[in-house]
Subunit: 130 residues, 2 copies
Amino acid sequence: MQRATRQRAAILELLKDSTQFLSAQQVHGALTSQDHAIALATVYRALQALTRAGELDVRYSGDGEHLYRRCTRSDPHHHLLCRHCGAAVDLPGIPLEQWVTRHAQKHGFTDVHTTVELDGECSSCAPSGG
Amino acid sequence: MQRATRQRAAILELLKDSTQFLSAQQVHGALTSQDHAIALATVYRALQALTRAGELDVRYSGDGEHLYRRCTRSDPHHHLLCRHCGAAVDLPGIPLEQWVTRHAQKHGFTDVHTTVELDGECSSCAPSGG
DNA sequence: GTCGATGCAAACAGTTTGCAACCAC
DNA sequence: GTGGTTGCAAACTGTTTGCATCGAC
């Protein structure tokens, strides 16, 4: 079972206040600069544990790192992520089940899992007309 | 411009014959065991160049590596990938544009790019009833 | 007191890069 | 001959792991 240590509390606190997806290194950097001494390995281990426990959503950044975000929604949904600042908004789940099932059957695939990733430029990062 | 070297020809040949997504290391391993001497770095560089040239599709494996597949289709489409053997089939593009645009606008996002990844068990890998 | 969590540093895996030799054009 | 390509090995980045210590329950 998971223990409520100072380090994990700090990580959850940080993620609770963030709408962004953050990398393990970003989490570590943020905590360190907030005077929360924590080892990078601890961040990785905690992030893994929390992900396994369903507390966090993970995404692949596209350049080699994983991004984490607190997300307690249990219903299917997607994240629209700003590729500049990492800001994310929740979007309702796309009703793809029928479409996926139909095509999966056609090709003999079973137990199909669908991942939808959306990324764009948020209003703060978009060039405002120039 | 790209030069038609022996190494790139071998890589393209290998990928042409494969319906699977392969990692750089798998490509290297396959070529090496086929008596095609080639350096791992060359595989990485060629794979990058070919991807940039639009000759290959890339996918993230979920455990730290990128997977490549030859794919000359230019129309939007998706890949349904077997998580055991890596076999992949092309699926037509899901008409998400309107849905995405509508939600993106609502949240002030522009230039939104959609990635749909499907993975399941192909008929060869699925437990056939036991 | 027990056993999971932490910190440190070394180990790892995948990938990239510097540089000289090489070869397609 | 020129300039992109290759091979090698070393460097890098993100991540994991071994082990002794620490601390939550």
